[in-house]
């Protein structure tokens, strides 16, 4: 059935002063049944442009490496079927593929996500008991297992307007890391009080729950409702709830 498909892909890199020099380049290749966007990129590399830069690993939606903006929408290229892309692309128009826009460009479709690794280092890890015999039930596990299914694709960070438009990278941890913090804060073994830093250092107040992050999450994590809002509530209870403050003074609550 080898139908041809045209992709318009961003090619370019920053110059020595950090200005991005690049253009959108057309590539046309034959397409087979059942292909995903990443298959088309690989075919373009094999037939036209061996040096087209693109990150990928597992090609099965498990590692979160091949994040890009396809037709303007942030998604994993390995889990985006061409069938669906063709449906949304106007007849005769090329499919647009760009790198994630919120991160500094390395080259072509590859961006520098080292911010995320630096941010991760700021989160104090679990401080569980030394002895190995302890237990908790599946209901407690369910809540954090949702957070732990994050594949760190950074699509949520890429789409969050606090970071993408307002560039609050120094003051705001972003959705990925609120998921991480929620997983720590709600972990049955965790003994840290994380609320002050969630408010002060990680800037949860900046989030005004527009839910863009939840919309793009390929792991289906309900970031806004299950991670961010509960953390916001804990901050409110800690800092602004008069009853809780009184209870704390009286020593009824920690």
């Amino acid at each position: 059935m080898a139908e041809d498909i045209t992709f318009k892909i961003f090619r370019g890199e920053p110059d020595n002063d950090g200005n991005i020099i690049g253009e959108m380049v057309d590539y046309t290749v034959p397409m087979d049944d059942g292909m995903v966007v990443l298959d088309v990129i690989h075919r373009i590399q094999a037939e036209h442009a061996p040096d087209l830069a693109c990150r990928w690993n597992c090609k099965a939606g498990k590692c979160g490496s091949c994040s890009a903006e396809v037709n303007g929408k942030p998604r994993l290229m390995c889990m985006t079927r061409m069938e669906d892309i063709l449906e949304e692309t106007e007849e005769g128009e090329p499919v647009l593929v760009k790198p994630m826009q919120a991160f500094p460009l390395t080259r072509d479709l590859v961006t520098d996500t080292s911010w995320a690794y630096e941010m991760n280092k700021k989160m104090v890890p679990i401080n569980g008991p030394e002895e190995l015999d302890w237990n908790f039930n599946q209901r407690e596990a369910n809540r954090i297992q949702e957070f732990r299914s994050c594949i760190e694709c950074m699509l949520c960070v890429n789409t969050c307007h606090v970071l993408r438009e307002h560039e609050k990278f120094d003051e705001f941890a972003g959705p990925r890391f609120f998921v991480r913090l929620a997983g720590l804060e709600m972990h049955p073994l965790d003994t840290e009080n994380r609320i002050p830093e969630i408010k002060e250092d990680f800037g949860i107040g900046y989030c005004n729950i527009t839910r863009c992050c939840t919309d793009v999450c390929p792991a289906g994590i309900n970031i806004t409702d299950n991670a961010i809002i509960p953390l916001k509530e804990r901050v409110v209870t800690e800092y602004y709830d008069p009853l809780a403050i009184l209870a704390k003074k009286l020593g009824i609550r920690k």
């Binding site: 890199e13 087979d32 049944d33 059942g34 292909m35 995903v36 298959d39 690989h42 590399q45 094999a46 037939e47 061996p50 040096d51 087209l52 830069a53 693109c54 990150r55 990928w56 690993n57 597992c58 090609k59 099965a60 939606g61 498990k62 590692c63 979160g64 490496s65 889990m79 079927r81 390395t106 080259r107 072509d108 590859v110 520098d112 996500t113 690794y117 991760n120 280092k121 989160m123 890890p125 679990i126 569980g128 008991p129 030394e130 190995l132 015999d133 302890w134 237990n135 908790f136 039930n137 599946q138 596990a141 954090i144 297992q145 732990r148 299914s149 594949i151 760190e152 073994l189 289906g220």
Partner: protein, 608 residues
């Protein structure tokens, strides 16, 4: 040479950041030495992240009859007795503590009703033994180790590829790498090096591996003079996706069968009943009724009182059965077999196998809660690897250690599902521990010959300087297709010999590829540099397969279709770099008497 390079000094350099590399790095860092971890991908993206079903450890949470002795026995039996029994013992004994340790570091495995780590059934394991989180256990393992590791002071070099291991006076002294992001060149001086570089299944066209699985770890060790073992044993996982073509090879977890998934052919028969090998006859159900009874006991949380379904035979057996059904004209629509879990409650399927549910829904438009999956064999794992000392994980090159899929010994001729994740954390820890201890005894970094560095730089930059040449993707594609057709599940002498000749030709083509001249994140350049390793690893596998004139585990010969207990059943292949690639065969030391008693005398065939 006027190319600039950057010099780093670390007591221990760990190559690879999957489960084994991270666990080694944590252990080494703990002891206070300086540690560098070098990885081809970004941290947390290594191949471990793709592991699905679970990590095997005889915790006995789900069935108290389990213990390390039975795990040892199952591992040896599954490996068809070519395992290094000393590693199989250490692994079975230490895996439970490594799993519990992960939990104290924040891992959240699925729970039993009593709130303990839950365990699932898997092929070749007598009892439910695999700690798991749905079907994303690898993600949990790598994330837990990553989050622990980044707080331990190690230096992490992401998206770096190691090109050469340096030796000084016959001992490892460092390595050369380049940064894939910016093309800068780096020399790492090291007192010890841990190879935690995973496997090589990208050498086959249909595989479950990521691009990283090009076997550079094996090749680097081999080029540095290390002994390689058991390279003929390649695990073809019986259940990879087969349709549509673009997803061919993607893994379908054995957990599907552990949760009661049934394999059927085009005639609707559960064909696995016909393929139970003699050595497993007593342990598997003889009728569908018995198999269903077992599943219903397991699903309702009871201890099994009847025998398990034959779908839970070891991977080598199931893969070959699917292959044989296809050859007999009874395959599924697209040339594999049907795998059916749709008879179970849809909510349970989504909870226990969420990844499979999404994978089939999104990539194949199949709803596994109501429809059958189509599956077929996919190259999944290399049982062979770098030969190591079972106690310390040191290779035959002094100061070089190896762990995980990079090393050989634990799995023999066939690996049991779930024994890989536990392998990573058991032997990763041991390798990190001994590499650090050894490094502490060494006072100075050795001097690395400048000429060797120059040579490494020249080789690395060569593809960038070729103005014309073949697209490296084409050479790699042809290599993978050749291996798929000639060094396949069922092998024959004539095709293996052809493969060796083909590899010579591919090697020449590989040395003349061109990829554009940019050093900034240039995938063509990266791929050009992978070809040499893929060629030599393919050669090791082919050569070892040609010599082993019998069928056993992950090595099946059409011209020698049965196991040979007298000779081949007792020896392992060893490959070293001489003038050409050289092969010999050797035995492990005799097994301790008390361990021998744990095995089934009937299939151990000691006296023959």
């Amino acid at each position: 040479m006027d190319e600039k390079y950057i010099i780093h000094e670390h007591d221990v350099v760990i190559i690879g950041a999957g489960g084994a590399g991270l666990r080694a790095a944590i252990e080494a860092s703990k002891s206070g030495v300086s540690v560098a971890m070098i990885c081809k991908s970004m941290l947390g993206k290594a191949h471990t992240v793709m592991a699905e079903g679970g990590a095997a450890a005889a915790l006995g949470n789900k069935d108290p009859r389990d213990n390390w002795k039975i795990h040892f026995r199952d591992t040896m039996k599954g490996g068809k007795y070519l395992n290094d029994w000393r590693m199989a013992k250490i692994h079975a004994q230490q895996a439970p503590d490594r799993i519990r340790e992960l939990e104290t570091w924040g891992a959240v495995f699925d729970r039993t009703e009593k709130g303990l780590t839950n365990q699932r059934n898997f092929g070749g394991h007598t009892y439910p033994r695999l700690a798991h989180i749905g079907d994303a256990t690898g993600l949990e393992l790598i994330r837990t180790l990553q989050e622990k590791g980044v707080h331990m002071g190690m230096d992490i070099f992401m998206e770096f590829t190691v090109r050469k291991i340096f030796k000084t006076d016959g001992k490892v002294s460092g390595c050369f790498a380049y940064n894939r992001n910016d093309g800068t060149l780096h020399v790492f001086k090291a007192k010890t090096i841990v190879m935690a570089t995973g496997g090589a299944t990208r050498c086959w066209e249909v595989c479950s591996g990521s691009w990283e699985y090009t076997g550079e770890g094996y090749a680097l060790a081999y080029w540095a003079g290390a002994e390689m073992g058991d390279m003929e044993f390649i695990q073809f996982h019986p259940t990879g996706m087969i349709w549509p073509p673009s997803v061919k090879g993607i893994l379908v977890t054995e957990g599907v069968r552990g949760e009661g998934g049934m394999l059927t052919n085009s005639e609707g028969n559960r064909f696995m009943f016909e393929y139970v090998p003699e050595m497993y006859k007593d342990e598997f159900a003889e009728t569908e009724e018995e198999a269903l009874e077992w599943v219903s006991e397991i699903v309702s949380g009871k201890l099994a009182t009847v025998r398990r379904p034959p779908e839970l035979l070891t991977r080598d057996v199931v893969a070959k059965a699917i292959n044989a059904e296809r050859d007999a004209g009874r395959s599924s629509e697209h040339g594999g077999a049907y795998l059916d879990i749709s008879w179970r409650n849809p909510e349970e399927v989504k909870k226990k196998l969420p990844g499979m549910y999404h994978q089939f829904k999104e990539l194949a438009a199949v709803d596994i809660t109501t429809e059958k999956m189509e599956v077929g064999p996919t190259a999944h794992y290399v049982m062979g690897g770098i030969r190591v000392d079972p106690e310390t994980q040191e290779t035959t090159v002094p100061r070089m250690y190896a762990a995980g899929e990079a090393a050989t010994g634990l799995h023999g001729a066939n690996r049991l599902g779930g024994n890989s994740l536990s392998d990573l954390i058991v032997f990763g820890k041991i390798a990190g521990d001994y590499a650090a201890k050894r490094a502490k005894e060494i006072e100075y970094f050795s001097i690395i010959e400048e000429s060797e560095i120059d040579k490494a730089i020249e080789d690395t930059l060569a593809p960038l300087n070729r103005e014309s040449g073949e697209n490296p993707a084409k050479v790699v594609e042809d290599l993978r297709e050749m291996m798929q057709n000639k060094v396949r599940i069922i092998r024959t002498e004539s095709l293996l010999k052809e493969a060796l000749l083909d590899l010579n030709e591919l090697e020449i083509r590989g040395k003349n590829t061109s990829s554009g001249s940019s050093r900034i994140y240039n995938p063509g350049w990266h791929q050009s540099l992978e070809i040499d390793a893929m060629i030599d690893v393919s050669r090791m596998c082919t050569l070892a397969a040609l010599h082993r004139e019998e069928s056993r585990g992950g090595h099946t010969r059409e011209d020698f279709p049965v196991p040979d207990y007298k000779y081949w059943g007792k020896i392992n292949s060893v490959i070293t770099q001489k003038d050409v690639m050289a092969i010999e065969h050797r035995m492990y030391p005799p097994m301790d008497e008390d361990l021998k008693k744990l095995l089934d005398a009937d299939d151990f065939h000691e006296e023959e």
